[in-house]
Symmetry: C2
Subunit: 446 residues, 2 copies
């Protein structure tokens, strides 16, 4: 068992029996075997399983050096990427940094290329203005539309400001090892490059260069992040079902799914966890949402959304399963004080840490939701350190692989992502899509 | 029909017939009648229906004056509120302001009291530091735990900096007209006060003082916002079913719900719409999620999440209904340029506005999702102006009232929100909750 991450299914036992959960052991063990032996569906993309033990230290050294340079010469780092080339870094930075890190000193990390909003990109160009900046462009192929468009803009802005040679020293490309448009451009221009591995899909890539460079540039402790990632890998490999939080989580959500829980709501009580939930939604939605199957992943920020989605959670359609992420120590303290006149009636909290109030809200809510008909699973992590986050990342990745195999899907492909792209290319008039274009235009025009 | 807001159900017609939609007319008409005549369930809380015609111009004048003062004397405005006292203002500000408004000049609006995270509040206190700031505390009772705790902290900080009298000139209280803890404190201290009406619930309150003061303080055009709100009210009152976008939207989602579409995903293609989706989730989740019924409201930002939730939308469980918000003109332009060497293969877009790419992505995605088994509804708004936003707000509110009555729930109560509060009070040791506390502690300790 880990001391840093504890999985608790006790609040779901009114909705499944312990026997039903334990009956999942053979399926979970078979799933783990497929991951470890690389013998299951999608086995070309399970490089992340052993990644913690195989991090390329030469490249990691270059990442740390680049991060230090960026922090010394750039007010902004624009990270250009979408999906897995965006969410992992964002999740880590929002979790580990100051809640308002873009308003504090130091290099500000801003994200681009994760949509095609003109307003967003034009506004981002405004913000950067004449400030010193660097760019980390992340794309395996270099031709994905969203990041490619954004990169053209920022490359142009940078070459105008620093000249072509100067720009080449401020552009960092994370891309394919050997081929592709971005790799070719980077070699020609002399950009520093880092590798998106062939055997790791985007949503499992946070501890490759894809995530590590932006996270390091934000000033986070990537050594500790990697250490936690390694420790959780060892635990997932070693522990038997009953002591294995990732296998238990995978098993529990499948038992509940089979009982009609169609939607899993990931709940947090710390705003800093918000983007971990976004990362988690990609991980689970993209791994399991196929063949007409899979739990629909949603997320809520609490107690914020208890005054929004709270009513639905308590009394709406009983198709929900809730998974709570509890963060132990956030390293900050605010003690509630006694007021001379107790107008707001809060004096009964005097002397208590605000965290105590937050934990009471969490425990009270869990019990209320269980009483209202929602099974609750809980993932408690010790603190908001980089090491703990590394453990959490691996926990969710490993559990997702196991869960997908139990569900009997290929957790490592994403065939559905191509559908919108093909249609978009056709509507944009991209050469080679003429036939599809004609049929789509007919559909649009009725 | 409105020229500024168009509702399109054509992409859902493969999943419901036009006859099925039209058969909803009597139910929708009866629901509208209940709203307008204030004769339905929860009729004590339908003050928002006529709000556009009844805005208190004396108070509105004071709001505009206060906003001007805040903009002249404060680097930060801390808006303290939760649920409906948070989401409406946040939605409007994020939609109408610069995408990075906290990094640009002018008064920065930051939000507090919408969670009990120690880290968030301590970090927020850091950010404000020694800067000049004002506070707008929004709470009908003044005793809701989250905002009350935050207000104590910022009141203390302000009195330390400006003295008690100086602080009283920088604290703006939006609260009950006559009673409650915050009203009493405001009268005693001499705070400027604004009214949370008795007959308008939080989630319908964005165009009361609750939303108007923060929105005005952010520099947005509240006159235009109100104008749009008024125009859409007239349209909703006047138009028959087939020309009434709010009634059609309410009807369509109920038809699809009855066919097993349990989850509605609100999708946008502009990051600035993100918080409108959060506001919408409260509006619909809290109004309809009761009695074991109601569509579960979720949201996605596209094309961002096409590389995350996109796979699920395309191929996961077919329990989804998607509603797209299309923003016409965002007032910004970026023209794609021709590159001398077409490494990334984007030259076929040369000369096109980036918005053209975004719209192609939207249209391509709609067709892909329909082909994949997801009915799509579309709400197209003309631009991202304040007037259009006023229309959108009223459209969603009116549609929600109609939809809730069709579903046969009381769309204006939220009994489930009390459940977590009671448990929280008991676990916090609040006097009067001793018996509940004993039973909850037993449940927690197994």
């Amino acid at each position: 068992m880990s001391k840093d991450l504890v999985f608790d299914y006790s609040h779901a036992l009114g909705f499944m029996t312990k026997e039903e959960l334990m009956a999942m052991e053979p399926a979970a063990a078979a799933a783990r075997e497929k991951l470890v032996k690389k013998s299951g569906a999608g086995n070309d993309f399970v490089g992340w399983v052993d990644l913690p033990a195989e991090i390329d230290m030469e490249e990691y050294g270059r990442i740390k050096k680049a991060a230090a340079k960026i922090r010394s010469d750039s007010e902004y780092l624009v990270v250009i990427g979408i999906g897995g080339s965006y969410l992992g870094a964002r999740a880590a930075i929002e979790f580990l940094c100051h809640s308002f890190y873009t308003l504090m000193g130091g290099t500000k990390i801003l994200f681009a290329g994760n949509s095609v909003s003109t307003k967003y990109l034009a506004d981002l160009l405004d913000v950067i203005g004449d400030s010193d900046f660097s760019v980390n462009v992340i794309s395996k192929s270099g031709t994905t539309t969203e990041p490619a468009i954004a990169f053209r803009l920022f490359k142009e802005k940078m070459e105008q400001k620093y000249g072509r040679e100067g720009a080449a020293k401020r552009i960092y490309a994370t891309t394919d090892k050997k081929r592709g448009a971005l790799k070719a451009l980077a070699d020609e221009e002399g950009y520093e490059t880092y590798v998106v591995p062939d055997d790791i899909g985007g949503r499992y890539s946070v501890l490759t260069a894809v995530g590590l460079l932006p996270i390091a540039a934000a000033g986070c402790d990537t050594d500790a992040l990697i250490e936690g990632f390694r420790e959780m890998r060892e635990l997932c490999m070693r522990e038997s079902f009953v002591n294995n939080p990732a296998m238990l989580y995978a098993a529990a959500r499948n038992v509940l799914y089979n009982k009609g829980k169609s939607v899993e709501v990931l709940a947090n009580y710390e705003p800093s966890v918000h983007y971990i939930a976004e990362w988690w939604k990609q991980l689970y939605g993209e791994s399991e949402g196929k063949d007409g199957k899979g739990i629909f992943p949603a997320s809520i920020d609490l107690t914020t959304d208890l005054h929004s989605m709270g009513q639905y959670l308590q009394d709406g359609q009983r198709i929900l399963l809730e998974t709570v992420i509890e963060v132990g120590d956030t390293g900050r303290e605010i003690i509630c004080k006694e007021a001379s006149v107790d107008t707001d009636g809060l004096n009964y909290l005097a002397g208590k840490n605000m965290d105590f109030v937050n934990k009471a809200a969490m425990n009270g809510t869990i019990l209320a939701h269980v009483a209202g008909g929602v099974p609750v699973l809980k993932v408690s992590i010790k603190d908001n350190s980089a090491k703990t986050l590394g453990e959490l990342f691996y926990f969710f990745e490993f559990a997702c692989g196991v869960s997908g195999y139990i569900l009997d899907v290929n957790p490592f492909n994403q065939p559905g992502v191509e559908s919108y792209k093909k249609n978009m290319f056709a509507l944009l008039g991209k050469p080679g899509y003429e036939e599809l274009r004609a049929s789509l235009m007919a559909a649009i025009n009725g």
